[in-house]
Point group: D3
Chain length 236, copies 6
């Protein structure tokens, strides 16, 4: 009944290839089905100015999409002259999510910038960015630890994300574009490796939903994220 | 234990004054404690171009904050030359929320723009904007109905919003700025008059939360929104 | 003969309500008939960089108009991405006018920013902004004096403004929108409490005017501003 | 007593050289002392969209200053990415002034754009732009008349401008930069060939002025403009 | 003597992988050593407005670089709010080069947009973009031919590019970043499959060069491009 | 056979008038036929931040074109809000070219900004800007030498530029607009006074060219530039 033939609670095939670019301190290419995101983590010696002298670190994210990552070409945001509201909303979300898994005291007064660039899109790009972005962050932090720049590990847990929604009346896990564009209700769920919630964003376009449906989607998300965390563990 | 002396499940005093500007088709000034938002609804004869010929209407929102609505002065976005990511995220949310309470076929091929301008801020401005924005929208639609421009009422239900969060270890309703800036977890809940969910956004900054806590916040929100809907009914 | 039924030399009803926002150091809501402007004054400890080390203070102004302050909705300048020429011209004028009433040595090396935001417009918004802006400035300076931050009062006189024009062949005081859009010649007059001139801007669109007419308008302005200064005195 | 040795009521040497660029429909280089402005007039077959179908024409102006027209280099506005408030204020003024001398019915539904680019600045650039801009406009309209594109002359009178101010306690005509930067009160006066007033802008920075002083400056302006109009007549 | 150990006239290893994204009409990932560029071609039914009604087609290009394609992170142009001069110069060059190999009558009144996004940079990104961009263009045109949308092949020849320069006193082929940042003279050479010149850009930073050196670099380029054209042939 | 009646190897009449603006440290108006460019050089005491502490100087350039320098009016870049790709490409070229003739150690840690503003255009504006820009630079440096601010002359040679192209099948020198808009192949050649090459940019729009043709154009350029260098010598 799903366009892809997947079961209701079935994730798309996920692969996380690390070390894909030569320059970044941490990097991976995450593929969730046909959604492919290149994630790189850059270590900067300086924290943002609002943290000067606090001893606290910062993790932030930027998000972009290549013009032809989608079915029809999108105008390049650099040519338009600004990032869309959607782009800004997504990159703020990624940054918040990753910070929730980091001990900013242990990180010390420096910044890690995680860039998530969508090479090919088929729904769920913000979730793939978070799951892959965490891997890039993990690898960059490993480099700091190995170099002795920091002594205790600032990463306190895995962070991963998945979308769920009500498609054709049924709660389904990990929506692809065909499902996402039809679903009246969908949500993004960001959890830690231990299953704690970091962020829940459920939204109805043209429909409304009940507490019961919300619970069903959360059940799906918990299972899906457990699998994504396993993929992260295998990758790093 | 709350800075304001309110009980855990106590809303701030809410007042909704309608007809506050002479020009708008619908308007109100909503006050949720010290958060004051001026909401106006403008009817435009043309729908956005992506709806041309579909017979469907559109509701959209814009959000702004006066420079000295806050404790320290914010730079004027018009002078900066762009709307911040936060502003864009909020106005997208308001628009989505209001559309969820509208039958776009009954509205017909026209657009209603809801402007929410924060005159004074003390936390919860996006929620007040949604609750007040619905009132402005309702009044503008009444004008269309009265004029015979549309025949059946496109507004299918009330839409109202409230924030809840975990403050000092306790779930509390309707956070003010003092609470909001301390809460590790908080969320915005948008519901219909019948208690259906439109949007749930829960987020942890520097903490994580459990499904149980999520349920407690939702309980608070349901009660709070019921009271806000009563205030809307009294106003229109 | 005037659309409003006013006499040729009759001001609109003016009211100045102070202390209207909780956060600003000085604030008022000025109503000149249906033109309503919220004015706030913000004290900043630092003067602009071009004054560094001079011991001189600065007063500046910013002006905005809510999208639906007018009969048809204006695009939000923050969304457009820049302030219009008209907005910039007006805020430069307000700043210049207020500085003319301030002893910048007595103010000391700090800046006061006066924000004038038009809530509802019916002509004469720049004049109302100056008259109301002076009240907000006065209240903020009072706070500095009371706190002992400055010892001698830097405000040397009242500053108020009014428009006059030739409507239907007659010189009239305090044009509302209906008159303003018809008048071939109009002007803005900014005077001190003692009746000295700060700025005179007379302009003909589609007509020209004589020295004699200029004198008549100035006569009207002098009388009008005397009444506005009384309203300022009552307010502070 | 004036830095230049001029008498109080003495204009700077003025020259107006026409036909200075090969491409423009009308052009001149106006020199008022060391202030040199290149003015070109471009005829466009289409009027602005707000005039579509009205049969009315439009005259508009743009103003610019070469980066090294001034004593220290100004940043190029094209590189900064926007026109300053000052630039916009000036070009709005030039356009308004020139339109006051034009019969827009006789012009017909077309637009003339007058570009005023300051090659070298020594005070009074906006006045020189108006006086020279009128010459460029006149020449372009002559071309339309000669070509039979319009039948009756849309130019109803000369338009010229001059600044006056109170320098070292004395009213002086045609301020140069050395005077302008010291004058507490100054003004720009725009008059027609017959001596009617189009625009008066008097402003006090750090001083105020009386009606009597205003009259003295206007006396100076009337005499100065009569001479400038003679220079225009000689040029065209 | 070259940092990479390559011979003076030795290209970096080149690979061209086609069909790398699901959505684009033509695509390839070109790798010239450690420089990796993703090239996609998008067919648009409409030509730019300046070609309306001419029957002529257009090929244009856009260029971007992921923030961490380089050794230190570059600011994202979409976040900065504009494309740099360098970016614009490069994308204008790519577009010009590809158009030189296309019969715009045979293409018909449509546009093909070639996006070149640098995933990893090690010198020579503009040349790799041209060589890879041609492959993407070729594949997109093949789709048009296969679909019968056009009847005769608009691609008249291969287009490929390579850089050469004088490094440590010696003319070398295909500079990598280590060489490029040291070379006093370098150039980009764009040739057709038949060896005709499309564009030559030679430039000296801090040195000058002779006609003889220019000839030596061109000799190297001709050989290098012959090999790149073979790689293109193998790929399509 | 050339539209202007010139011989194939004949430059347009060139004149270089120096000292044309009162404020700039060096200035000239260069006229190459109907192409007129005003060049000014500004000495700034500070070098760009990337050179801080190196003892090295910098020469940079900015380029602009008055709106009516061309046959039809161009939109003012300051009004558009950004410099076009073409403008940026040209000003980068001018800066690179002039730096090639300067010993940046001898210049010392300061910056010279060369502004090239096209007053009237008839093809070849970038070449005229380089040739004239060098004169302005030379005059500004003379001032530094005379004042004793620098001791040894940082200008190591003349820098001049000319365009050549294939027009109607023939190689011609110094293309005017009529030729430039028809030429399938053209190029810009920048040489030193001793005949060394600084930059060669040859480009084919809609044609390709051979090595032999490239040589013929370079022959023409060498002769043309020798004459331009003589004009520079006469001017300074």
């Amino acid at each position: 009944m799903r366009p892809s033939g997947r079961k209701l609670d079935e994730l798309r095939a996920v692969s996380i290839e690390t070390g894909v670019t030569r320059h970044a301190e941490g990097s991976c290419l995450i593929r969730c089905g046909d959604t492919h995101v290149l994630c790189t983590a850059t270590i900067e010696d300086k924290a943002p100015s609002f943290l000067k002298g606090t001893g606290l670190g910062w993790v932030t994210a930027e998000y972009g999409m290549l013009p032809r990552a989608t079915n029809t070409r999108n105008r390049r945001e650099a040519a338009v002259g600004k990032q869309s509201g959607r782009t800004q909303e997504i990159q703020r979300l990624i940054g918040r999510a990753l910070r929730a898994g980091v001990d900013r005291v242990a990180l010390g007064e420096r910044q890690i910038v995680v860039d998530c660039d969508v090479i090919q899109a088929d729904g769920g790009t913000r979730c793939a960015s978070i799951t892959g972005g965490w891997v890039a962050l993990r690898l960059a932090v490993n480099k700091l630890l190995k170099a002795g720049a920091i002594v205790s590990d600032p990463i306190v847990d895995h962070v991963a994300a998945v979308s769920c929604g009500i498609y054709a009346g049924q709660p389904v896990l990990d929506l692809d574009y065909a499902e996402d564009s039809e679903a009246g209700t969908d949500g993004n769920f960001i959890l830690t490796g231990r299953g704690r919630l970091i962020e829940v964003q459920m939204s109805a376009e043209g429909a409304t939903f009940s507490r019961n449906e919300m619970g069903q989607l959360l059940d799906l998300a918990e299972a899906g994220i457990a699998a994504l965390v396993e993929a992260q563990k295998a990758a790093v």
